[in-house]
Symmetry: T
Subunit: 164 residues, 12 copies
């Protein structure tokens, strides 16, 4: 994802600062696609008496995550940098782990996603500071909503994973 | 994606036949996510006088591809098998190639996607025959629409990539 | 439901073949109304901590079943035959059993409906072959969607009835 | 449909009174499903120069009848009783007769449904008095609308069946 | 909430009778706001494996309660009296108890709301008789729907709080 | 509006009782059309600093009145009687007075409509008792909503016509 | 409907010319309300095998007529004149005749309305010329659409009243 | 409509097979435009007591036919062939006959369209077999729906043209 | 399209004048269907880097043309004449030429349609004068909008066909 | 705004006549933008007890004015001329005066806008005659609606500015 | 509202900092419910010539305030703390005063709400700083919108309460 | 735009600070209207093979700019200052230049707008800092979105203006 002259979009943001924001956003984009896939994985393979309830909740959460991805990628483009390009590109940048287990209990699904979303919150909070530093206010304001969304998912998952 | 007793959904389709359909569909699912990402990649990085027109066309095509993924995965689940689970799982099953080049001309984008979609048509036509063989009529009928969609994308990309 | 001259709709399908399709579809129609009523029965009488979740799921499934009934009946009419006429007519043709028990546990509800839907899938798959035999492509294509719907209901019911 | 301890919903309505309302409503529910089926029967088998007009009118009327059934059943449940459970249960409680004739003229269809709807109005008016007696105001108010609906259907059918 | 000359709306209902209806409705309004807050309290603090299902059910129930409040208050105004004015006014008129406990189990939440809604049904049934006595038919008809709503909430809560 | 054999709709309501309800409803229909026209008259000719506010309020009120007229007329028809037929028929049955003055002040408009609506409430309350007497529950329940509507219009007009 | 200083709206149209347009439009308004009522009369009292078809057609036509009335009245007001004020005002200006007959056959209803609508077309065509003369282009353009509407109603009524 | 190198869309379907499908589809397209025009012709010129009912039915049928035309043409284009180009092109390929008679009775209109639609069903059934032969699954699946539509039109027309 | 007694709709427009308008409108109708088909032809066969942009523009323009056809035909019918009946009828009346060429460049498509639309504008302007002459204001007003539409299409096509 | 060869759109309207219409329309466009800004100015700065009522009315009026601007400009372009290009261009062509006063009373706002709208009506009526002269029927018909809109605004403003 | 181990939602925000934000938000929540009730109080009891205008404005403002409450409460929950539980809890935390006066003039209503909203703005601005301090960006961004909303209400109320 | 006592809206923001924000926002408002007009200018006068694509893009961009103007102006008003009043006021405050050239090539249009939007981004980023300084959080948050919008427009324009 190095910057290439051919793709520069002009911007009045300092170009080094913009590149740092881009790096942070591209990392978040990789994790968002990873978390989207994992949430869909669990949406497809969940089982047990809460099947429909969790199947729907995971679909809603996957949808909410996916809805952020185009915005993230285009924030990077609008500020003069390039973004992710492929499944392989995601794999090289993701910090959230895949879970390819044959069987995961519903409870373990909830807990793993809760932790992944909290990890995403942390990365978003760091990116927020980087964006503010760069005076990249357009990105900074979007991040606020992404944090709220990830905190909401973590709350739902945390409460659901608890003993009643 | 081997079949696991714990996740078997009961079906009256012969279980070996169903597994063969599942293998075909899971391969198509991996390619669909790959093609989705590549189409978004080009949606984000396209440049030149047709920018808006191609940017919109690629977004529409990416949206059409993504819309098939949940249906593909759930056809596999409804017929007693398991489906993809992660970015890594996609990477291991994809046959369509990533394109991580720093710069791709608009014309090359159109041609590469045209070829990828035609390749997808071929795989879908094979999966159709496998599904019919297994009397998996639910999957077979869905495949018809996915073929039409991929052929439409190939037509648009082919005509657009031609010299006027 | 014997064919009566007074109600013949003209069709180019061989009339014996059409009558065979009609017999298969009328049997499926009787079972669909029976399953609709049983699913509503359980929607009304379900109880326990998953009440709302199952109450909603059963309403969605009942709605999906009912939505097929007018289409089934009119496929029979469009191909020159007559269809069901009354509650008694349904009773005489149904193969899915009524359940008039005073109390059924939520878990038993799910399992019974799962089995009924799988039985319906089998009958639909047989009807599909009959329709293809008769070159009644209009009916054949509709059956594909009904199979997918019944398989989806069976999947939801199967996963929900499992131990978490 | 006897009351069973296991399914009691608590209510402050006197339980004998509530049971009497439930019996009236369950009878109306059986007749409503019967009338729905007969109206669809005629919607499917009507013939002659007014085909489309009557086909549509009967579909609208069937839809209006069906729309009352879930409300009827749930009024019974909300006031501590149980409701119908199956096609057989409907058959045992219906007072409106099935019509399984091979051929019914359009005019006879209109007249038979007119009489059935007027009979339903009578039963609804009796149930209204029973509900008011039991201070079951929730049911009583719903009955008002069902009476208006049945009177509207009877009016349409009566006027249409008359000599112009 | 004493009547004040300055705010009289003219009405042909006997003014003492109207005032009695107003007193009943204002009491119900206070309890409705109290129950709304308690239902939102539980919507916010519920926990355990049914979190999403109950969180949604409680939100729907709170929404249904809130939707009655403006209608209640304006029925009082339309018939020449004054209604509630503040949080303190609610506190002085409420008969449903607050629950300020640090922790309430999901099961206890359901049971407490079930009892509160049944209590509300009783008050509504009394208000219905008062409104009918006063020939305040506009209020009387609205109460019918509020009773049905509270009975529906009680039914959902009762069934959900039962052992499966 | 005498009853004519040629137009009788069958009904199980006692025919004398039904005719008495019809007479009451036809009178209310005449007054409703009269009040509709007067409200539109004022909507068209109102003037002064509150022009837009009153112009809109009067249009909303006229719309609410008009919305009741088809329902009133069809309640009469559904219960076996005939209803109004012309402008002249309205003129012969109206009890609310026309106002053909060249100029009416905004304040006088509000006061006159307030009194007309209160008069309509009185007539509706009488018709309610007649309908209940006749066990014409369909009409009785509709009247409840018409009373609420007229009381709401009277409240708005009363408050607006007061000194601030 | 004489012009009154107190209600003059300023306009650059010659005031005599505007008054002539107003007289024409007010006459059309009276006839439009008359025709609306007659069309509703027939909508309510029509009978015979085409009941639903004609009942719907007459409701659509009545709705189309009513939709023009507010526009007519406000064109008069916008060009500095006053418009109709009451049922009595309509009665004094209408040229289309009331029909208060106890019984009108469906065929006679169609023919009478056909003639009334054609008469309305004539008056509209005259008003068009008066408006053009006065350079009242706003009114003139609206009249075009009203003519088309009345011609459409006349066409439907003419064709329907013909022997098949 | 011969194949021209300049317009080839790439496809993996055998090109001779694809051309055979294209010929069948182009013939159906010509007949669909012809039937569309004839159905509109009758929609415009129908007369008699069922005018509105048939006028509407014919408009719905014409709309349903037209809705297939763009899909037919684009199936031909997506599979590497060219489609119809003009009114003259339609005239040269149509097998359904024009009807330019000055007057056609309503009954004759219904019968002629019934026969035309049944003829279309036959051609569609043949095209289906050709498409399946060519493994042109996208076209084959679309044809299923077109058959159902034409059978539905034939049913409506057949029943309506019968003696009541 | 000669006038036939059997199909006369009564109108107060002079019948010779109406016939002249009808002849003009029927000619425009033939050209509109011709232009619709040609625009669809180009929508289907266009090629080159602007494929999607032109494909969409041509579809929008074809849709706009088609939307006028039913209105044109029904204006003729409402004023007592008959209109087009078939593909052959269109062919006999069209003045816009078919283009059946195997290949047309995108630029030539734009230029040909630009000229055809300008030709249509001319014919519409002539028809306008004929309609005004006949005092056929309903047709005249519709023509205004059709002129605007054709001028808009010509503008788009003209600007697009120019060198940038 | 002189005509430039490079921007000519072909038209069959006489080019001098078209240019005269263009001049009139461009003047109206300048005044429309001016009036839009002034109406928004007053929407933003209005004060006093009618604040919300006038704030909303002025927003609706500003919205109605703005909605005409694109249509005006494109009428000029469709008939072969050029239109306004900038704020400065508006300033050079506007005849309606700016009002930059620090404070304007609500009453003065209403009166000034009333006069401005009446002035706009006058200019529109002149443009109408010019367009008719040029046989520019597309523009002429649009002007009708703009006149009606400006007359409606003037009526609202006039009545509101009057003493009650 | 002390923190309780049983209800902790995990968060990466420093827990003391989060608790401080929670305290600020809970105070704002109490004031928001208080202001909602007071605004509804005035919506119900307002009187005088601006009745409808103010009645609507107060309803819109009450709706806007209520819309923030669920978001406020859930921000507290998402960041690991507990929120308000009852009417009594609101009463204990509110700083905005109740107004239980028998009569409040419209002008006094506007002024009191203007001051209350400005007070709310102040508290929101303080909470913003606390949230920023805690790096609770999700809350901080929501507060921005709540400030804008309260400032808008204050502006409307201030301008309306002024002498015109 | 000096502050005038008569128009002060109360605010707790320091009044000097608020005035500084107002000055910045009013400058941005002037430039936004200027850019809106220029973008519409180019939307109207663009020419060449990308006509429709650019015509649509420029309309979308103009719409996005206009959508910000009312919000900008009202932020100024809500914080106690006055905003722009006229076309002349815009002209006096705009820093973006008008372009009144007779002919501008499509490519030059794109480049000029790209630069203008980037200039707007700079001014917005400065205003953001001013608003934050003044603790005017309502304005500050709105600016974030306006920056994102302008950056998106610049990106589209930049990429489109590049050599493919
Ligand atoms: Fe995007
Ligand atoms: Fe899914
Ligand atoms: Fe049906
Ligand atoms: Fe239900
Ligand atoms: Fe309210
Ligand atoms: Fe009606
Ligand atoms: Fe109006
Ligand atoms: Fe197409
Ligand atoms: Fe038509
Ligand atoms: Fe435009
Ligand atoms: Fe919530
Ligand atoms: Fe605004
Ligand atoms: Zn985008
Ligand atoms: Zn699913
Ligand atoms: Zn049907
Ligand atoms: Zn329910
Ligand atoms: Zn209200
Ligand atoms: Zn009706
Ligand atoms: Zn109006
Ligand atoms: Zn297409
Ligand atoms: Zn039509
Ligand atoms: Zn445009
Ligand atoms: Zn929530
Ligand atoms: Zn505003």
């Amino acid at each position: 994802m190095a910057d290439t002259a051919a793709l520069d979009t002009p911007t009045d943001i300092n170009s080094n600062a913009a590149k740092t924001v881009a790096q942070a956003l591209n990392g978040i984009l990789a994790d968002s696609f990873t978390l989207y896939l994992k949430t869909k994985n669990f949406h497809w393979h969940v089982s047990g008496p809460h099947f429909r309830d969790y199947h729907l909740m995971l679909d809603e959460q996957a949808g909410a995550i996916l809805a952020t991805t185009d915005v993230i990628a285009e924030r990077v483009r609008k500020t003069g940098n390039t973004t992710l390009r492929s499944i392989g590109d995601i794999a090289r940048h993701q910090t959230i782990k895949d879970n390819d287990a044959e069987f995961v209990s519903a409870e373990d699904m909830l807990k793993e996603l809760r932790d992944d979303n909290l990890k995403l919150v942390e990365k978003l909070r760091e990116a927020k500071d980087i964006a503010d530093e760069a005076k990249d206010y357009g990105s900074s304001a979007e991040i606020d909503g992404w944090i709220d969304g990830a905190e909401e998912r973590a709350w739902f998952l945390f409460e659901t994973a608890r003993k009643g």
